[in-house]
Assembly symmetry: C2
Homo-oligomer: 568 residues x 2
């Protein structure tokens, strides 16, 4: 089939594949909601209006039809499953297109990781666009599995599934005119350039935007979002599993500015995707909070397509792909039917399309630790230490200074005061590099938790009440070739293998969710009270988000943007 067939169907000279009758169309272009038939042929909407006949007809009387939802910025890897499984999770929620930055897998596997995502983008029922990861590694204060310079990214510029350059996390570097960053920006200047500049403001923010950055998804306060919007940035409001910015930022949205606002999830874990959904979840919250449904739907579809120049997405109109969401109640936006390319792929929260055949992509194993035992000892250099202070529901941390508990000349975990040892073990090259520090907020009374998901370098993070538990956890992860684990003394209490780059499971998402829940329960049994200690831990090594973080090179004072000693 071709454009010629589509035009014949549009003219009514040939039967269409499918006619959706009596739909209440949410017309995101004209800003109206009104009844019409929607005519679909050869993957596309070809016509709106009465008088068409189709080989198949679906009566949608009383139902509303909106464009397929678009996630403006998501790391698929945060779902801990393969792209195919991720698709199975979000499609029933009406998300038909995602713009993904594969920088987790790119930090582990470089271009091989990007190709893994692009290979997956080509098949399967989800439109998966890719942004070229701009900061691999995030900074020079970490050891990642790969390094991607402008000359590496150059081969992605003309790739049909690549939309631009992903979040420019080295925001000081960009604003200060770092040559490598500017080279990457120049390469993608005619495409989309995503930002990432938490708390950046004033003159430095002006410079960052002047470099060509077009969007920002890191706003956490109204004031911050307003300043960035005024500088011309498209604001991607984010509602991730940990970073919940939607309610705080919704007061920003009004009729006059909403065109420059989009929705994104950034990072969501399996349970969140399964229980709450994705962009649909954000639309429901927005409407509950008083946003007009038309505006909420635009921010979850049309605005994003327009921002990224995705001409055939984000609206239900002739010539666009027939990616549609059908809901019964516009105010309780629950996708009853989801069409992608005119094919019903999900109904009532469940996939109806058969799983697409997956091409097997062999990736090398990625957990490479020294053969000798790791040494977690921290010889005391003074009695005062810097401590990473976690903040509830945030990926930012406090930069605390505390008295150290010193035993036999070494600083050790102090479970009474909830100051736990935190190690970041380099796991790509078996270099033996290990960062050692202390962290507050995990409340483990005993045992340890560990994982190879640690943004963005994805070294092996381990937090524990004692060194033996920490060593047990690390060994368990080495055996699995990557994953998450909870250990207590010599015992492994629970594990989730993530054999794909130490980031992704090869299991169905429901199974990953069950195992993940067991992991959290095991951590809770040791004293942790966070809703998701593994997610929180995974951001404690991300040295581009303030204030104090740990990499395999040591503690990073993010505000100073340099390594800082543990002992004060």
């Amino acid at each position: 089939m071709s454009i010629v067939d589509r035009l014949a169907a549009a003219r009514g000279d040939a039967k269409a594949d499918l006619v959706l009758r009596n739909a209440n169309l949410v017309n995101v272009v004209s800003g109206e909601i009104y009844p019409t038939d929607i005519v679909i042929h050869d993957r596309h909407v070809v016509a709106l209006g009465a008088g068409y006949s189709g080989r198949q007809t679906v009566d949608l009387s009383g139902m509303f039809v909106a464009p397929g939802l678009i996630d403006a910025h998501v790391h698929v890897e945060s779902s801990l499953v393969t792209p195919a499984e991720f698709a199975r999770a979000v499609l029933p929620h009406g998300v038909t297109t995602v713009i993904t930055d594969p920088h987790e897998i790119a930090n582990v596997l470089g271009l091989e990781g990007m190709r893994y995502m692009l290979e997956n983008a080509k098949r399967g029922p989800l439109n998966m666009y890719v942004m070229a990861s701009s900061c691999v590694p995030a900074t020079d204060m970490e050891t990642s599995g790969a390094r991607l310079e402008a000359e590496d990214l150059a081969q992605l510029v003309d790739h049909p599934w690549v939309l631009g350059l992903a979040e420019l996390m080295n925001y000081p570097g960009v604003a200060l005119g770092d040559e490598g960053m500017l080279d990457k920006i120049a390469l993608f200047a005619h495409l989309a350039l995503d930002g990432h500049a938490p708390d950046m403001s004033g003159a430095m923010l002006n410079a960052y935007v002047a470099a060509g950055v077009q969007s920002e998804h890191e706003c956490t306060t109204l004031e911050e979002a307003r300043e960035k919007l005024r500088l011309g940035l498209t604001i991607f409001i984010r509602e991730g599993t940990t970073t919940r910015n939607l309610k705080p930022l919704l007061p920003l949205v009004n009729e006059a500015n909403h065109g420059a606002i989009c929705f994104c999830t950034d990072d969501r874990i399996p349970a969140d995707l399964i229980d709450h959904g994705s962009i649909d979840h954000m639309i429901r919250i927005a409407i509950t909070e008083g946003v007009d449904p038309l505006l909420a739907i635009r921010m979850g579809s049309f605005n994003t397509a327009r921002h990224f120049g995705l001409k055939k997405y984000g609206a239900v109109a002739p010539g666009k792909y027939a990616d549609l969401v059908v809901v019964e109640d516009l105010r309780d936006f629950r996708p009853a039917q989801v069409y992608r390319g005119g094919v019903l792929v999900a109904a009532d929260g469940t996939m109806t399309a058969p799983a697409a055949p997956q091409r097997r992509i062999d990736l090398r194993s990625t957990v490479n630790l020294p053969s000798t035992n790791l040494d977690f000892a921290v010889p005391a250099e003074s009695e005062t230490i810097r401590v990473i202070g976690t903040v509830a529901d945030q990926v930012v941390t406090e930069h605390l200074v505390e008295r150290a508990r010193i035993v036999a000349g070494c600083a050790v975990s102090d479970v009474e005061r909830d100051i736990l040892k935190f190690a970041m073990v380099e796991r790509h090259r078996a270099s033996g590099a290990i960062g050692l520090a202390f962290i507050k907020g995990f409340r483990l009374k005993r045992g340890a938790i560990a994982g190879t998901v640690a943004h963005d370098h994805h070294n092996l993070a381990v937090i524990g009440a004692d060194d033996i538990s920490m060593a047990t956890a690390v060994k368990a992860i080495a055996r699995m070739g990557g994953g998450l684990t909870v250990a207590d003394g010599q015992d492994v209490l629970a594990s989730l293998p993530l054999p794909i780059a130490g980031l992704l499971s090869d299991l169905p998402i429901e199974e990953v969710r069950r195992r993940y829940d067991r992991m959290i329960a095991a951590a809770h049994a040791l004293g942790n009270r966070m809703s998701d200690p593994f997610m929180v831990m995974s951001f404690m090594g991300l040295e581009v988000i303030p204030k104090l973080k740990l990499t395999d090179q040591g503690l990073v004072d993010v505000e100073q943007f340099k390594l800082t000693p543990l002992f004060v």
Copy 2:
């Protein structure tokens, strides 16, 4: 200077070229108007906010700053002057960017004509983007000076000043799947595809849009605009010299849909540009008619930039080109200062920038008529003729059927009943082809008017009360190598030479305007009462606009889209 210098100025680490202090910024992104300083360096806005110092400072207290205006669709040739002169006319009106379809000159000179425009786009103080002319010739029912197929246009796809494919005027061809049209569409599908489908509706319109068309500037009624907007087309509201659609279409505009609406002028003659302006004129009218100034300004700048993917235009923000309009009174939008690339190019309605050096571009002469005298005789085949009925202020015509005045076996002009002879003389190849018909509305009591501006083929159009006057007018034009003329018997009453392609003068626009006024006065002296008979005549050969038109091949019934005999 480079991006590195701009970032330094944005950070405040280096002095900026220019700081506009205390401007009331019309922020088209955030939808707000508020005071701020605007910092400009190396052609770009680099920062908004206080605390910057510049080598030059301008205090704008009390003034408003909006983005430079953008004309979404204009044929520069309608100004009858060179692009440099056109720039001189529109820049003082705040228009810093135009998206032009050079299809007039392309119909005469083919790619040579397009290259003439693109060469001009490279220099001069106006940003001139070009759409590749899609319909040269408009149809096969005319003889034009060139034929541009997909393979000819292919070389323009990657040109930095080419934004896409210009108005797809062969709208039945597109909807019916004409192979040549689809080839052109496929070539430019990733870029902008402008529409042109007057009065098209229903299933055929669906097919036209399904082909990939993205905009429409031919709407004349609210109902038509609403149907097209609902199908996802961006509506370019047009206010040309002849086609004044702004007031009829303004009731369409509201807060919820204005993002998909832009302003364009399409065709404006010199007097109109000088006396009324361009997009600024539309903004003034829109505001007077009750449109919020912010929305009006967006439709004249931001929306257009976004539609065409012009990332560095249409907003005043870091990283964008410093194309700015300064006005004193937001409600009476009269540009007091105009900056292009941070340089003041016009103030108080007058250019301040020196004329850019023009590269001489030699074009071949384009008026090629047979050496023998033309025969305007119309032997009567019956007593009833089709007559083209002009409609006040419209380019559409009525398809009339009238009794012919027959003298000596030939149908002749009937000045009493205002049925005048109308000839369209092929002037590109000296083929001798001549279309002969009759037209109502020009009211000449004697004499003839003629011109080589006749959309889109630009053959030689002549309307007269008698054959001798018509022959005199044609000869005068041949002598000038193209132009407009008014003749009476053997006398030439007034002339305007248009030596560049028979379309453009090489004189300053003020002089062209004076001569043009004299032409109209001369036509009025012969009985015509139209405000601009030459403009009206120039559309009487455009066989893609209903209902009855004349080409060198004969009368065209546009609704049937075929040649039709003069005699009924």
